[in-house]
Each structure stands twice: as C-alpha cells, then as structure tokens.
Point group: C2
Chain length 351, copies 2
DNA sequence: TTGAAAGCGTTACCAA
DNA sequence: TTGGTAACGCTTTCAA
C-alpha cells in the first residue's frame, strides 16, 4: 500500500492539514514540526503529495498542452519550431509548469480524445491548420488557448501578409517576372507538385494562405498577375520536400528567375535543388525563405526573420496569465526582411 | 460556473453514473439515452469528464514523464534524441497517453519539485547523467522508471562498451597509434579542452564512461596505452562544441591520425574542424562518430549505428506494461559499426 | 439498464 | 500554530 498524507499524519500524530502544510506552505508551521514530518515521510517512503489529487483540489493542472500536427520528428526537425518550444518551456519552467505534448496526427477521434483528456491549464497551438477538429475540442474545454495562426482570443504571431509582401516587393524591385512559390499544406492530397491556386483566400492552412497573400499583393502591385505565378505544393515542411518541389519549377522552360518558399526549410531544399543543377543562387535563380533559422544565414539566404523564441515565451505568458484588456491579448511581433546573397537581379536572358 | 457531470445528469434526469458511462463505457447504456446525454452535454457546454478528476479516481494519469537535461534546444537539436522521442511518442499515442516534458536544468530544487509534482504514470529518462538528484526523486515516486543508462529495473539500451570496442578495433587495424577522443560530460566544469582521464571508471556520465571504456579496451588489446590517448572534453553535445574540441587535437604536433567522438554531432564538428584546416577525413585524419544520424551518412562518416526509434518504442512499452519476468525488463539492442570514408589507414608520415 | 453510495488523496477554510 | 470539516469531479461497486 502506497503511503498517503494520512499515513504520515498518523505516524507523527498530527492532522492531515498539517502534513499538507509541511509541503505546500512551510511558513504555516514550526520548522521543527516540519522537520519531524518530513523525516517521517522519508521513513515511510512517502514522496510528497499526490500530484493528481493536488491538481484536483487546487484546480491547477500544472501543465500546458502543446498541440501540433505532423509527426513529432518533423515538428522537432524544424529549428524554428524548436526555438518556439524552447521559449515556451522557459516560461513554463519559471512557473513550475510542465509541457504536455499532444500530437494531432490524422485528425482522428483519438486526437479529439487526447485533447479532451489532457490534464492541462491551457493549450498552445502551433502548426495546426484550421480545419482540425481537435481545435474545436480545445476551445470547448473552456481553458485558455493561445494561437499563432487563426486568431483566437489569445494570440501571438506576426503580420504574415506584410512580411511576405516586403519580400515580394524586394523581388519585384530586382526585376523578377517569372516566379514560382513553394508552399506546404496547399494541396488537399498532400502531394508534391504544381497546383493551381485560383484564390489564395480559400487555402485551408493559415500560414500558407497569409504568406501567399503577401506575395500575391506585392506581385499585383508590380503588375505581375497571380495567374502567371507558378504555385507548387510541398508534401511537408522539410528540406527534402522543398528540393522535390523545386524540381517542378526548375525543370521547365522558361525557367523561373526566382523561387520563393513559405519556410526556410523548404527554401533550403530549393537551394539544394539549384546546387544539383549547377545553378547559382542569386545569379541564375533568386531564392527567398521564411523564418531565418541558423542554416539560412549559413546558406547566405535571403529570408524573413521572425522572433521564434519570443513567440514561444509570449505564448507561455499569455496562457499562464491572460491579460484582462482584450488589446493585450493579441500580440503581433515585428519581422524583418534579411537580404543576403540568394537574391539578385533577374537574369532575363536565361533559358 | 463550469458544468460538471452532475449538471448534465440533472438536465437529463439521470444519475451521475449514467452520464459517466455515456463517456467511458458506451456499451453500458442504451444508444438513445447516450445520445440524449451527449446532446444535453453539448447544449450545456460540457466538454467531457474532467481529466484530473478522472485520473484521481481511476488511478491513471494518462501521461509519461520524459526526463532530460540540457536545454530543450540542445535536446531537440540532436537527431538521435528526436528519433528516440518519436518512437516513444508513437507508443504513447497508441496507448492514449501523453508525453510530459520535464527538463532538468541545473539540478536544482525546482527540478526536484517538477519530478515530484508531475502527474504521470512513469518516467522515461534520457540523457541524464547519474549524479542528478532528480533521478532519486523519480525512483522515490514508486512508479515505473525506464533508463537508458545506469541500469534500473526497467532498461532499454545498447552494449555501449562492445560498440566502441568494435570501432576502436577498426581503428587499430588501420594502424592508428596517435588517437584523440572527444567526449561530452567528462569535465566536471563543463569546459571545452583537454582533460586527463586517468581512470575511465570514475567518469560520472554513463554514456561517456562506457564508450570511452570500449575504446580503451580496444586500444589496450592493440598495445596502445590509455595514457597516450588524448582525451578532450566538449562543453556540450553539439556540432559547434565538437569543432571547438577538435581544435585541441588538430592544432598540436604531432597531430593525431585519428579523432573519435562519443556522438555523431560531436564527430560532425570534428569534420568541420578538419575542413577548416584543409585536412581530408579518412586520409589526413580518420574520424569516427556514434549514433548514425542522417547527417553522418551524408558526411560519409564512419560511425556506430544504434536503433534510436526502437529504443524509444521499447522504452514506451516497458513503461506502459512492465513485464513480470525480470529478464524481459532489460532490453539490449544490437548496434553495428558502419564503415564509411572518414576512416582510412594511418598516414604515419604526416606532421 | 440504471442508480445510490463510497471513496480517490488532497487542499481551503474557518475555528480553536 | 494546529486541527476538523467539507469539498474537488469523477469512477467503481453493488444493488435494484
């Protein structure tokens, strides 16, 4: 039989409350009694109050649920995601709170149940396309939910549209007119290949939708029709998928003078594809990514920098201590276009 | 006021038990009554049984605690670790169980409390040096603990010593006699630099200790004294630390003909250091890693392959369903020396 | 098929 | 400073 508070109380000859206080409110009893209680506990093999019972009574689960799609391996392969998580973990730790991972593969019943059954004080959603039913389940729980994409009552993110619009303007200024865009989550069947995106607004994935919108707007302002832009779907957010997707842009004539991607991971794949074809980034083909992960700098890649760590930190703070003022419940972080060697003037003469 | 089971029961005019059954045991009541209950719940905004209360009553937390040291960012930067976690997550998911991350930075009181306060059914320990007090706290909880290093009652791992012994023998066969070893966690002050390791047995880190032992034994069998081997401590398990550590081996005369590392991440750093000095791996200096992460293959690096995904999976299974037979509670997985281009005959003539 | 009663192990609150 | 009492919201057992 596992020892409980009562066991210890009986042994020392005090009440449960006193033993409870010895653990949770050391200032509420004399140091010597506390010492006696702790000794008895050790002797009995009592390792402290049962976390679950404590949670039930105190109304605090002591954990934040982290909702994300895609295999764990992908989620943690993206340096951007890891940074976000790190910021979140930092704040969680400071608040004596754990992080409960809730992977949402395949939007099935199992995922729904996982969300409903998670003993957490709130959810942080990251990389979850809006169509996931699990999102509704999270809302239904009636606990705080922080979103980075579709705007909820608690939000921390960036101005996605303005970010890629700036990137697109940069491209237009350089004179590019044959442009391809690589994005994940834009093909319903999750295949890699060229897809037609007649109306960007209808895309299910918030991130891809917004980022494409920014590019579309920038192109339009420069007189480049959206219908002339090649849109390619990547089956997932990885370097390999990016390279595979890039092939659909690079192996056609006339070849685009610029290939932009919705994430750095994809864009790095585009660079790989260029290298495989002996094409020079910024000379033969310009490339732009998004996130500014460390590898982007190393690859001299033009990209949009966003504060991943801060996003995570702020998500944690919003969740643990939701501001009353609605204005404070939505945080939009600044981004910055980082121009490096992977973009250059359009070489209009190329094949 | 948040709705509870009782709220719903009152609304429908049934007892709590029946509502409970509607969620947890659908076969225990008529489909139509269940439907009525679920409808009422929806109407009242009741999102299902409170996970904490359910846990308390049923005695199942529905989560596995994952104990690890080092910043989250480092932990998730190592592809080996991510694979392990992925295997674990897979099994957890199949068993409707979550993963609670419990980072153990700086072995302080906070970490202890985090372990004591984690609402979990067991702990999986990974990358935690044996000296951490948090480990004791985990054991004290009286719930299953799966270890990959210091042998507990539940264990899944590999024969570390035999693995590096094979690698060491490979090196000896190639004629290397000037050898350096890069390892993390072998310097008490966590600095990068050459350290003296008179007796390998005394190292605090299980992994480094075992892997060094294997090399030591292989060298000894070939007549190479341990005292002649250069041991270098890396401040952490990362490519950068590996490169920094390698400098202590490469920038000395006579230069070692081989530099081995206790992880692939470190070994990749060694390769970086070689490249920075225009030294050719396998010709000028032989390099061996450990883990066989994808980048290792890409870098044509000789290394020891271990089944990371399986390790994670088995850890999960051991925890969720501990075998009765003690023999089944310890699983040792096979490893394999993968010889690639980074090792070659010792070029004895080099400076 | 449904319901009543008894906890699960703790903390909050108030009285002593 | 300490103790008694009453929940926290649920599941389980057993009886109807």
């Amino acid at each position: 039989m596992k020892p409980t508070l009562q066991t210890v109380a009986d042994r020392v000859g005090v009440s449960r409350s006193t033993v409870s206080n010895a653990y949770s409110r050391p200032d509420q009893l004399s140091p010597e009694l506390r010492e006696r209680i702790l000794d008895a506990a050790r002797e009995l093999g009592y390792s402290g109050p049962n976390p679950t019972a404590r949670s039930l009574r105190s109304g605090r689960a002591g954990a934040i649920g982290v909702l994300f799609t895609t295999a764990l391996s992908i989620a943690f392969t993206d340096p951007y995601a890891v940074q976000f998580l790190r910021g979140l973990a930092e704040v969680a730790e400071d608040n004596r709170t754990g992080l409960l991972l809730v992977p949402l593969r395949d939007d099935d019943e199992g995922a729904l149940e996982a969300v409903r059954n998670a003993a957490v004080d709130g959810f942080v959603v990251y990389c979850v396309p809006g169509w996931y039913k699990a999102m509704e389940a999270a809302w239904a729980r009636g606990i705080p939910v922080v979103n980075s994409d579709h705007f909820g009552s608690l939000f921390v993110g960036i101005d996605e549209i303005a970010s890629t619009r700036a990137a697109g303007e940069h491209l237009m200024r350089l004179g590019h007119r044959r442009v391809a865009i690589v994005a994940d989550y834009i093909s319903p069947d999750r295949r890699t290949g060229e897809v037609s995106v007649p109306s960007v607004e209808d895309l299910g994935s918030y991130v891809s939708r917004e980022r494409l919108t920014g590019y579309r707007d920038a192109f339009a302002a420069a007189g480049l029709e959206w219908s002339e832009v090649i849109t390619i779907s990547a089956a997932g957010n990885s370097r390999e998928h990016g390279a595979a997707a890039a092939a659909y842009a690079l192996d056609r004539a006339p070849r685009p003078t610029a290939v932009v991607a919705t994430t750095d991971l994809l864009a790095l794949g585009v660079l790989d594809a260029l290298a495989a074809r002996d094409l020079r980034p910024g000379r033969d083909v310009s490339v732009i990514g998004f996130d500014d992960i460390p590898d982007a700098a190393q690859a001299h890649m033009t990209t949009v920098r966003q504060p991943a760590l801060d996003r995570g930190r702020i998500a944690g703070r919003l969740l643990l201590d939701p501001p009353d003022d609605p204005a404070d419940r939505r945080v939009v972080l600044p981004t910055e276009l980082v121009v490096r060697a992977s973009t250059g003037p359009a070489s209009t003469g190329s094949v």
